[in-house]
Amino acid sequence: MDDTTAKIKQFIVDEFMPDVSVDELDSDFDLLTGGVVDSLGLLQVVAWLETEFDVGVDDSQLGPESFRTVDAIKTFVDEARGTANAG
């Protein structure tokens, strides 16, 4: 597991399901359908991403699809960083 994925998993578990261990959370688990992250939780995730990875999240990118799974969040972070580096 790469560093970004591990950090995201740790955050999700700490914030939303403290009774679960990190290894149990599959990176393709649907966080939205599973009710782990709701629309309010999404804001928490975004705020954390902004500080933790120093990425800017503008409102137009704030679709729930980008945050549906740990994998999706990692892709979002990678892309946001890639854009930031290129600019």
Binding site: F29, L32, T33, G34, G35
Partner: protein, 508 residues
């Protein structure tokens, strides 16, 4: 004036004195004998000397003596309150005081030792429950007074006018073909409204009641033997009885050809039980009845085609009984003409005029607002039903359990049922917690099996297959100790919520 209930019974006793009236513990009691028992109960208790304008209390477990005592009250036209004997003496005392009873009677002349009577006598005057007798609309024509469990505090007293009992017992006899020669099993405890069908319809119309002993009501072998030995024709019970019979006959392959009418009521019968009914009762017709103590039976559904494998997964509550009127009121207060969901409002020819404690009526009884003169009082059932395209109704849940989460109507009961389906869940409560942003959010507390590894993630995976997004709890708390319970053993959601709010305040 029309004949009273007792006149009908007395007519049976004089025209067919040796016909069986009751079967109890293998013994048969004939109509003549039962009439004589009623006469001596009346004499022993001096019922006719008690004030005619006040009710009596009856504290009795099911027995022929208890039935004779009730007949004595019916004969002398004394209204009587018949609460559950399982209630705490203090609660019984309060109920009897609220009904303003002149005396508490127990079968076999043990009235002086009655714990409940002592509880009334020993209650200091300032703490005594004030008498609410007579009920609104008068007490002259009241016969049975039954109780129904309140969600808080005292059970609610439901006074039934003689006319209501009369009309109900005539409907039931006609519907289920109850008359001389018919054997009807009585499964429910004596204080249940179900007895108006099993016991009182049968005794009015000359049939025979096979009484199930309360202490053996969960013994499938005993129940199967009782039905076989007495050639029971009519069976009315909660789904549990059918489950017990299915389990016990699976081993010996027995069936019950004498049963012509098998009625399930009080709870949803599972499809797995329905499937087994035709095998169990090869000559049976199968019914689901919907009703409550306040209105008595209101809707009936006959299962047709069970033997051919036509098994509904969602049991229809059925069609209105003759003379019964129903309304469905949607969330916005409008009455539904077509399909949709809403609270079921019912008026029946068998209903009470209201609770003895009239303060309780406001929430539950109201005239049809479009009726103009307000003559007809509808009972607000608290049950949410769905009307389908074919006009049939199915039960969606209790109105009390509906909450709005982010503007969407969600039943916490549906969420609880989904969580309960997980094999590691012993019990669960889902409560709606006020939330500044969402309005309400759902919190689930569940107790898991001691050796279970169940956590919120595995439970969410389980729920995701069963629930809509809006139905998914925001927070899930897994505990190993019992959830708080009410005095009747149900999960006390109010205490679950109160404890949660305390914790939130402590943390915030």
């Amino acid at each position: 004036m029309s004949q009273s209930f007792f006149d009908h019974f007395a007519a049976q006793a004089s025209s067919q004195p040796s016909a069986p009236a009751l079967i109890w513990d293998g013994e048969t009691i004939a109509y003549g004998e039962l009439a004589a028992m009623a006469a001596s109960a009346s004499a022993d208790h001096g019922v006719s000397e008690l004030p005619a304008d006040r009710p009596v209390g009856i504290r009795a477990r099911k027995s022929p003596e208890a039935i004779a005592l009730i007949l004595a009250c019916l004969q002398t036209q004394r209204p009587f309150l018949l609460p559950s004997v399982e209630l705490a003496p203090e609660t019984l005392g309060k109920l009897f005081a609220q009904a303003g009873v002149s005396r508490v009677l127990e079968p076999q002349g043990r009235r002086s030792e009655s714990a409940s009577l002592r509880a009334i006598e020993e209650t200091p005057a300032e703490e005594a429950e004030p008498s609410q007798w007579p009920p609104a609309g008068g007490g002259d024509d009241i016969s049975f007074m039954l109780t129904t469990s309140g969600s808080t505090g005292l059970p609610k007293v439901v006074p039934l006018p003689e006319g209501a009992v009369d009309r109900f017992t005539d409907w039931a006899a006609l519907q289920f073909d109850i008359g001389p020669g018919t054997v009807v099993a009585n499964y429910a405890p004596l204080n249940f409204d179900l007895c108006l069908l099993d016991i009182w319809t049968t005794l009015k119309h000359g049939g025979c009641v096979a009484l199930v002993d309360q202490d053996r009501a969960t013994n499938g072998g005993y129940l199967a033997d009782l039905i076989t030995a007495n050639e029971v024709n009519v069976l009315q019970a909660v789904p549990m009885l059918y489950r017990l019979l299915i389990d016990v006959t699976r081993e010996d392959g027995r069936s019950f050809p004498s049963v012509k009418h098998a009625i399930t009521t009080g709870d949803k019968i599972p499809a797995t039980s329905l499937e087994a009914l035709p095998g169990l009762f090869p000559n049976g017709r199968f019914f689901n009845i919907y009703g409550c103590t306040e209105t008595n039976d209101s809707l009936i559904h006959e299962f047709r085609g069970l033997a051919d494998g036509v098994v509904p997964t969602n049991v229809p509550v059925g069609q209105p009984l003759p003379g019964v009127r129903t309304l469905i009121r949607s969330d916005d207060g409008a009455f539904l003409d077509g399909t949709g969901t809403g609270e079921l409002l019912v008026w029946t020819p068998f209903q009470t005029r209201g609770y003895l404690n009239a303060e309780l009526n406001a929430d539950r009884f109201a005239p049809h607002p479009e009726a103009g003169n307000g003559e007809t009082t509808y009972y607000h059932s608290g049950d949410v039903v769905r009307r389908h395209e074919d006009g049939s109704l199915t039960l969606e849940g209790r109105a009390d359990f509906y909450v709005k989460v982010r503007g969407v109507r969600v039943s916490t009961q549906v969420v609880e049922q989904a969580i309960q389906e997980h094999p590691d869940v012993i019990e669960v409560a889902v409560v709606a917690v006020p939330d500044d942003l969402a309005g309400k959010r759902l919190h689930a507390v569940l107790r898991r099996e001691p050796d279970s590894k169940l956590n919120s993630l595995t439970l969410r995976k389980h729920c995701a297959e069963r629930l809509a997004r809006t139905e998914m709890p925001s927070t899930i708390e897994i505990v190993t100790e019992s959830l708080p319970k009410t005095s009747t053993g149900k999960i006390d959601r109010k205490r679950v919520l109160a404890r949660l709010e305390e914790m939130t305040h402590a943390n915030g």
